[in-house]
C-alpha cells in the first residue's frame, strides 16, 4: 500500500518532534535526584548535577517592568563573575498562561535551575511542581510556598509593610486619615505589605479610609487618588503599594494644591518617585533590592545544583531587605543604583 506523501511528511515531522523532545528531556540526565524537607514538612525534589558538565540556569520575571532591569543587572553580574550563562525571560503580557509556557519551554530545553517570580502562586502549583521534578526551582520576589520550590529569595513583604507603617506613624504623630493605592490587593505581595502597615498603625489613631485598586491602569491610579482626595477632605497621607502608585498619588496631591498638607509614601525606586522625593512631593519610599534578588537567586541555584540543599538556610527564605529612601539619603542611594546598573 502506498502512503500519501502529505501523510508521510506529517508522520515524519511528528516523529522528529517527539524524538527531539525526548532528546531535550534527556538534557538533565546524569543528575541525581534526592529530596529536601527544608522549610516545609513535605519532601521536595532536589537535583544535583555533576560539576563536569556546565549548568544552565534561567530567571523568569512576572512581567516586563523597570524593576526587572535591576534584577537583570544582578543576573548579569553573577554571570560575569562565574562564567555561568543565565537566560533572562520576561512574560510580555504578564499572564499566567504565558509564564507557564516559559516554564515548560525551559524544562524541555534541559535547564538545570529556574528562579521565578510567580504570578499566581495558588494557580500555578501544578506547572511549578511538574518543573520541579526535572530541575531545581526557587522563587524570587513573589513566592509560591505551597509548591515544590526549594526556597524563596526576595523581599519579606510583611517586613516591608512594617517599615512602611513605622514611617507612616513617624509622619503622622497625631494620627489621621490615610488612603492606600495599589494595583491588585489580592496579590500576595500587596496584601502582605498592607498587613504589615495595619499591624504597626494599630493604636496610633491612624485610620485607613480608602483602599483603592487600579489593576495597573495608570490613568485609573491617578483618578482614584484624585477622587479619594475629594471624598476625604481631612486626608493626611496617601500611600502607594505598587511602584507607580506613589508618583501618581503625588501628582494628584499636587494638582489638588495639597502639597505639604497631604503626605505621600511610595514603594520602589521608579525614576519619577525619586524625582518627587527630591522636590519634596513624596516624603519617603520603601525600596527593595531587585539587584540582589537577581544575583542571589542565581548563586543559590548554582549551589543547589552542585551541592544540594547544604547551602540553603533552614528556613528556606533569604531576605534581600528593604530600606527607606527620603531626601536625606537620596543622593547616596542614587549613586548606589547607578553603580548596580553599571555592573551590567
Amino acid at each position: 500500500m502506498r502512503m500519501c506523501p502529505k501523510l508521510t511528511l506529517l508522520a515524519a515531522t511528528l516523529g522528529l518532534t517527539i524524538g527531539l523532545a525526548g532528546c531535550s528531556k534527556g538534557g538533565n540526565s546524569g543528575g541525581q535526584t534526592g529530596t529536601s524537607t527544608s522549610g516545609s514538612a513535605a519532601a521536595k525534589p532536589v537535583h544535583v548535577f555533576p560539576q563536569s558538565s556546565p549548568i544552565k540556569l534561567a530567571f523568569v520575571s512576572n512581567n516586563v517592568a523597570n524593576y526587572w532591569n535591576f534584577a537583570h543587572a544582578g543576573v548579569r553580574a553573577f554571570a560575569k563573575k562565574t562564567g555561568i550563562r543565565v537566560t533572562f525571560r520576561e512574560p510580555a503580557k504578564g499572564t499566567v498562561a504565558e509564564q507557564n509556557q516559559i516554564i515548560e519551554d525551559l524544562v524541555t530545553e534541559g535547564y538545570n535551575g529556574i528562579a521565578i517570580s510567580v504570578i499566581a502562586p495558588n494557580d500555578q502549583i501544578r506547572t511549578l511542581d511538574s518543573a520541579a521534578r526535572s530541575l531545581n526551582l526557587v522563587c524570587v520576589d513573589s513566592d509560591a510556598p505551597k509548591s515544590d520550590r526549594l526556597m524563596y529569595i526576595g523581599t519579606m513583604n510583611y517586613n516591608a509593610g512594617l517599615l512602611m507603617g513605622k514611617e507612616i506613624v513617624k509622619l503622622l504623630p497625631k494620627g489621621g486619615q490615610i488612603a492606600i493605592f495599589v494595583g491588585n490587593l489580592a496579590a500576595r505581595n500587596a496584601y502582605r505589605r498592607l498587613d504589615g502597615i495595619e499591624h504597626v498603625i494599630k493604636g496610633h489613631n491612624i485610620k485607613i479610609v480608602a483602599k483603592k485598586e487600579d489593576n495597573q491602569d495608570y490613568a485609573l491610579a491617578r483618578s482614584n487618588a484624585e477622587n479619594v482626595i475629594s471624598a476625604f477632605p481631612h486626608l493626611k497621607l496617601v500611600c502607594g503599594l505598587y511602584s507607580y502608585n506613589g508618583a501618581l498619588a503625588a501628582a494628584a496631591v499636587k494638582a489638588a494644591g495639597d502639597e505639604g498638607k497631604i503626605k505621600v509614601i511610595a514603594f520602589d525606586q521608579d525614576p519619577d518617585t525619586l524625582q518627587d522625593i527630591k522636590t519634596g512631593l513624596i516624603n519617603a519610599t520603601i525600596v527593595q533590592n531587585p539587584f540582589m534578588e537577581g544575583y542571589l537567586s542565581c548563586k543559590y541555584l548554582r549551589n543547589i545544583c552542585a551541592n544540594g540543599m547544604k547551602a540553603v538556610p533552614a528556613s528556606a527564605n533569604v531576605d534581600t531587605g528593604v530600606q527607606i529612601v527620603d531626601v536625606g539619603n537620596l543622593a547616596a542611594y542614587q549613586t548606589k543604583l547607578a553603580k548596580m546598573m553599571a555592573s551590567k
Binding site: V64, A65, N66, N69, E90, A92, A210, K212, E213, Q216, D217, Y218, A219, L220, R222, S223, N224, E226, N227, V228, I229, S230, A231, F232, P233, Y244, A247, L248, A251, K254, A255, A256, G257, D270, P271, D272, Q275
Partner: protein, 355 residues
C-alpha cells in the same frame, strides 16, 4: 434626542443623589477633576462614535492612545532613554503616526473589505506591541517636560484649580468640530446613511469607501489627541496605558445612544455617555450613607470591586431601554400606519356608498 435626554436626566439624578449622600461631591476640586476625566474619555469616545455609526468598530483606540503617549515621551522627554527633541516635534510625529494608522486601517477595511473587528483587533495588538518595543517593556517618564502641565493648567482659576483645564478645552473644541461634521454637513449625513443601509448608500452614489476610511482616520486622530492628554495626566508612559480603553469608548457611545447596529447616534450622546461612565467611577468612591445602629454612627460605602458590575449593569440597562424605546416607537408607527390605512379604507367605502 429623546434618548440623550433620558440619559442626561439619569446623570442629573445621579449627581443629585451623590451630592445628597456626600456634600464633598459638589466641591470645586471634585467637579473639575470629574470634568477633566470625562473630557479625556469623551475625546476618543466621540471618535469611536463616528465609526460605530457607520456600522463599524474600532478596537485599536486604546493601542493608539498608548503608542501616541509613548512616542511623545520617547521623542521629546528630557528624561533618560529619551531623545530630548522639542515637544512640538514629539506631538507632531505622534499625531501624524496616529492619523496614518487610521488611514491604513480604514483603507484595509473599506478597500480590501476586511472585517473591521479583525483589522482593528490586529491594530490593537500591533500598536501596543510597538509601544512595548519602544519602551523596552519599561516606563518612559515625561520628567520636567512642559507637557506635564497640560492636564492641570488651563483658563480661569478658582482657588488652586483651573476651571477649564486644557483637556476640557480640547474636548470642547472636539465637540464643536465633531458636532458640526456629524450633524451639519453632507459628510455627516453620509455617515448615518452608510450605517443605516450600506448597499442603499452605495447605490445612491455615496462614496462609501472614502467616508468609511475617513471615520477611521477621525477615530485614530482623536485617540491620538486623547493620548496627548493621558501622557500629560499620567506623566509616565508604559505600553499598558490605554489598555482596555477601546471598550470604555464603546461603552460611553452605547450608553449615550449610539447604536452598535449603525445609523443612529449623536455627539451629544457620546458626551453624556462619557460623563456617566466617569460619574460611576467617581460616585463609587464618593458615595457615603451615614446611619445609626444603637446610637452608634456607621458609614456605608461602596467597594471598588463593584465598579465593573455597576458599569456593566448601566450599559445593559441603556441597551435595554434603547431596544424597548425602539420597539415602542415601531409599534406606535405601525399602529398609526394601520389607522391611516383604515381611515383611507373607511373613506373609500363612504365615498362608494355615497356614489
Amino acid at each position: 434626542m429623546r434618548r440623550e435626554l433620558g440619559i442626561f436626566c439619569a446623570v442629573v439624578v445621579m449627581c443629585g443623589f451623590l451630592f445628597w449622600s456626600n456634600h464633598d461631591f459638589g466641591n470645586a476640586g471634585n467637579i473639575l477633576n470629574l470634568s477633566r476625566q470625562a473630557a479625556m474619555l469623551g475625546i476618543f469616545a466621540i471618535g469611536s462614535s463616528f465609526v460605530i455609526i457607520t456600522g463599524g468598530i474600532d478596537l485599536s483606540v486604546g493601542g493608539i492612545i498608548g503608542l501616541t503617549g509613548v512616542l511623545i515621551a520617547k521623542i521629546s522627554s528630557p528624561s533618560i532613554h529619551c531623545l530630548h527633541y522639542p515637544l512640538w516635534m514629539g506631538i507632531g510625529i505622534a499625531m501624524a503616526v496616529a492619523l496614518l494608522i487610521g488611514l491604513c486601517q480604514g483603507l484595509l477595511i473599506s478597500k480590501l473589505k476586511l472585517p473591521p473587528f479583525i483589522v482593528t483587533l490586529a491594530g490593537m495588538l500591533l500598536w501596543r506591541g510597538l509601544a512595548q518595543i519602544i519602551t523596552h517593556g519599561g516606563t518612559l517618564g515625561l520628567g520636567t517636560s512642559p507637557l506635564i502641565n497640560l492636564s492641570t493648567e488651563g483658563l480661569f482659576r478658582y482657588g488652586y484649580h483651573s476651571v477649564l483645564a486644557y483637556p476640557v478645552l480640547m474636548f470642547i473644541g472636539v465637540i464643536i468640530l465633531a458636532g458640526y461634521l456629524l450633524h451639519a454637513t453632507v459628510f455627516g449625513r453620509y455617515v448615518f446613511a452608510i450605517g443605516g443601509n450600506r448597499d442603499a448608500a452605495r447605490y445612491s452614489g455615496i462614496p462609501v469607501d472614502r467616508v468609511e476610511t475617513l471615520t477611521y482616520v477621525i477615530s485614530a486622530g482623536l485617540a491620538g489627541v486623547a493620548g496627548i492628554c493621558y501622557a500629560s495626566y499620567i506623566g509616565q508612559m508604559t505600553y499598558l496605558v490605554g489598555n482596555g480603553y477601546e471598550l470604555n469608548a464603546i461603552a460611553a457611545a452605547v450608553i449615550g445612544g449610539v447604536s452598535l447596529r449603525g445609523g443612529e447616534g449623536s455627539v451629544l450622546g457620546a458626551i453624556i455617555g462619557s460623563i456617566m461612565l466617569e460619574l460611576i467611577q467617581n460616585g463609587i468612591i464618593l458615595f457615603k450613607w451615614v446611619y445609626h445602629v444603637a446610637g452608634q454612627r456607621k458609614v456605608f460605602t461602596i467597594s471598588s470591586n463593584w465598579t465593573y458590575f455597576i458599569t456593566g449593569a448601566v450599559i445593559l440597562l441603556a441597551v435595554l431601554i434603547d431596544q424597548l424605546a425602539s420597539n415602542f416607537n415601531e409599534r406606535k408607527r405601525l399602529r398609526r400606519q394601520a389607522q391611516v390605512i383604515a381611515a383611507k379604507q373607511e373613506g373609500g367605502k363612504t365615498a362608494a356608498g355615497a356614489g
